[in-house]
Homo-oligomer: 344 residues x 2
DNA sequence: TCACATGATATAAACGTTTAACTTAGACTG
DNA sequence: CAGTCTAAGTTAAACGTTTATATCATGTGA
C-alpha cells in the first residue's frame, strides 16, 4: 500500500484536493461539516503530511540550522562539551513545531561563515542559530543583510541589534571580583576566552572596572586569552604561578579551564585555599565534583538552550528582535570560603 | 532575479530540461560535448541543485537522523558530553555527500524508540545512527524489519547482525584487570554503565572471566551499575569504601564517573595511590588533567564518530552490514604506576 | 424577475526534479 | 536499397502540495 496523500482523501470523500488541503490547514473557506468529514477520512486512512511536497511548493525548508564550531578531529582537547546540551535544548524547543534541527559542524570561524553564506543564499534552512559570537561578527552581518532569521548564543558589541541569549557576563565578573576582593585578594587572574569573542571583551571590561572601583592596579600579565581547554587553564597557572607576585585567585571562564588550573596547581605543588583559589563561571555541574569543590556561577544550560529554540521560532514568525534578547544571570554557588589561610 | 533551475539552463542552451538533468548527473546518454556546454552554462548562471525537487521526485530525504539520548532538562548532571564529538564526527564524514545530519534529541529510551518508528514509517530520513545499544535492542529490530539502513554506536548481543562501531570493551576490561591484578590488586571494583546496555554486559563478562582466570572470587558488591555521571562514581566510592574489605582499585567506565570517584576519595580522605587507585576507559582527554592523572584507555572519539558517518553512507549505498562492523581498541595510557604504596 | 453578491467547492497551474517512452537522423546489414 | 539498429535527444508525466482563479448554487435587494 502506498502512503496516503491528500489525493487519497479526496477520492475517499469525493471532494477535490484543494478543499482537502484547505480543510486540513484550517482555512475558514471550508465549511465545518466538510472539514469534519475530511478530518475523519484523514484519520481513517492514516494520512500524514508529506513535507517534500510542501517544501517544493512553498520554498520553506522547515529546518533550523544549528552551527556548531567544534574542535578539529586532530584536536583531542576537551572542548565544546556544552554543545550536547545546547543542541538538545534547541531540539526540544522545536519538538512541537514542524521544524527540525539540521546540524552543521564546522571546524573554525571561517567555515562557519561559509556555511552561513551557503544556507542563506541557497535557503537551506529557514533560521540559523550560532554561538561563539565576536564583538563585530560578520556572520551576523550577512544574516542581517539578507533578512534571514537567526538567534545568537552570545551577544555582539558592534553589530546592529539582533535576537540573542547569553549569560550575564558583565554581572558575573563584577560580582566575582567584588567577592574575591572582599576576601582579601589583590592579585586576581582572569582566564578568559579567545580575545576576539564578544564575551571576552565584556568580561575584560568588567574586570578592569572592578579593579578600578577597588583602587587596584590592572596588570595585563594576569589576563590570559585562549581556547577554553584544560590545557589552556593549566598553562596559564603554570605561567602565572612563577611570577614574583603570583595571583591568589583565578577566575576561569568555564569548568574545562578550571580543571586545567587544578592540574597546574598539582604540578606546582600549590594547595587550593592556601596558596590560591580557583573560581569558575559557566558551571555545568562538573566543578562540584572537583577536589575540593570550587565556587562557581552555575548556568543551567537547558534554560538558554531552550530559549534559543523558542526564540528562533518566534523570529521566523516575524517577531521583532527587540523582544528576543535575554541575559541570564547565573547563580552563585559558594562551595568554598575562598579566603586564603596563609601560614604565618 | 530568481534562482536558476535546470529550466534556466535549458533556455540558455536551447536543449531540453531532460537533457540538462541527465547531463548534470553524468548520464552516459548525453554526448560529452553537449555535457560540456551544459556544464558551462550551469557554471555561468550559478546553478545549484534544488533538493526539494529531487526529494519530492525521488522520495529520498538526504537526511541522516542522529538520535541523541540526552539527559532531561531538569537533569543537571554532567552526562552525554561525548555527543558533541560524536555528532561533529558524523557531520564531517557526511560533508562531501549530499546528506545532512538531522538531530533528534530524545529524553529516554522509549522516546528514541518512538522517534525511530516515526522516521522509519514516515521515511523522514534515509539512514539512522543510534547509540546506547541494549543487549536485545528493539530499535535495531524495528529498523531491520523495515530494511532501513542504520549504524549503531555500540554492539548488541541478541540481535541479528548489523552495522556497528564500538570500542573493544571486552579487551579493555580484560587487559585492565590483568594489569591491576599483576600489580597486586585483589579487590577491584567495576563502575559499570546501566545494566541493560549492551556494553555493560560485555564488560561484566570480561570482568568475571578475568577474575576466574586469576583464581579470584567474584564479589557482586564490587560491581555498580548506573548512569555514568560524576554523582554515580562518587556514590559508588562512598559505598564501597565503607566495606570491611574495600576495593583497592576502581575501573570506571568513563571520565565523568572517574571524576566522581575522585570526589568520593576526597570525601572519605582516601589518597590515590595509597589507599586505592582509579582507572578509566573511554578517555576523552580529560583525565590527564586529574590530580593525579590516572591510567586510562584513550579513545580518540573522532575515529569512531567519523566511522559512523562513513558507514551509514556505505550502508545506504547498499553495502552488506558484514563489511561495516568495527571494534576499536583504545590505547592504554599509563599515567600512574597503580601499585599501592601502603604504609607498613 | 433579474442582476448581483456571497459562500463553498472545483479546476488547474505551479514549485524543480527525474525518468519512462518516444522521435529522429544517421550508420550498418544483407 | 530497404530494413534495422543505435546514439542522442525530446516529450510528457509524475512526485504531493498550495493557491489563484473559475464555477455554481443559493440568497438578497429592488
Amino acid at each position: 500500500m502506498q502512503r496516503p496523500t491528500i489525493k487519497t482523501i479526496a477520492q475517499e470523500t469525493g471532494l477535490s484536493i484543494a478543499t482537502v488541503s484547505k480543510a486540513l490547514k484550517g482555512s475558514p473557506q471550508v465549511r465545518p461539516e466538510t472539514r469534519a468529514i475530511i478530518e475523519a477520512a484523514a484519520e481513517r486512512v492514516g494520512y500524514q503530511l508529506n513535507m517534500h511536497g510542501v517544501q517544493l511548493r512553498t520554498g520553506k525548508t522547515y529546518q533550523v540550522a544549528a552551527i556548531m564550531t567544534a574542535p578539529g578531529p586532530k584536536q583531542h582537547e576537551w572542548e565544546g562539551v556544552e554543545y550536547a546540551q545546547l543542541l538538545s535544548g534547541i531540539s526540544w524547543a522545536l519538538e512541537d513545531s514542524p521544524y527540525r534541527v539540521a546540524l552543521y559542524a564546522v571546524r573554525n570561524f571561517e567555515e562557519s561563515l561559509e556555511a552561513i553564506r551557503q544556507i542563506v543564499s541557497l535557503k537551506k534552512a529557514d533560521g540559523i542559530i550560532i554561538s561563539g559570537t565576536r564583538a563585530d561578527d560578520p556572520r551576523v552581518e550577512i544574516m542581517q543583510e539578507n533578512d534571514f532569521p537567526f538567534v545568537t548564543y552570545g551577544t555582539t558589541v558592534h553589530n546592529a541589534p539582533h535576537a540573542y541569549v547569553d549569560a550575564d557576563n558583565e554581572q558575573m565578573i563584577r560580582k566575582s571580583m567584588t567577592r574575591l576582593i572582599e576576601r582579601g585578594h589583590r592579585r586576581i587572574a582572569l582566564i578568559n576566552p579567545m580575545q576576539d569573542l564578544s564575551y571576552a571583551i565584556v568580561r575584560l571590561n568588567a574586570y578592569r572596572l572592578a579593579l578600578e572601583a577597588a583602587g587596584l592596579p590592572f596588570d595585563p600579565a594576569l589576563v590570559a586569552h585562549g581556547r577554553l581547554t584544560p590545557a589552556f587553564g593549566r598553562e596559564s597557572v603554570l605561567t602565572m604561578a612563577d611570577f614574583t607576585d603570583p595571583p591568589t585567585a583565578y577566575i576561569c571562564a568555564n569548568e574545562a579551564s578550571a580543571l586545567g588550573a587544578f592540574s597546574g596547581f598539582h604540578e606546582r605543588g600549590l594547595v587550593h585555599g592556601r596558596d590560591a583559589v580557583i573560581n569558575a563561571t559557566d558551571d555545568l555541574n562538573v566543578s562540584q565534583y572537583f577536589a575540593p569543590p570550587i565556587t562557581t556561577y552555575f548556568l543551567p544550560i537547558h534554560e538558554p538552550s531552550e530559549m534559543l529554540g523558542r526564540y528562533i521560532l518566534r523570529r521566523m514568525d516575524g517577531e521583532p528582535c527587540e523582544n528576543l534578547q535575554t541575559l541570564i544571570m547565573p547563580k552563585l554557588i559558594e562551595r568554598c570560603d575562598d579566603r586564603l589561610i596563609r601560614q604565618a
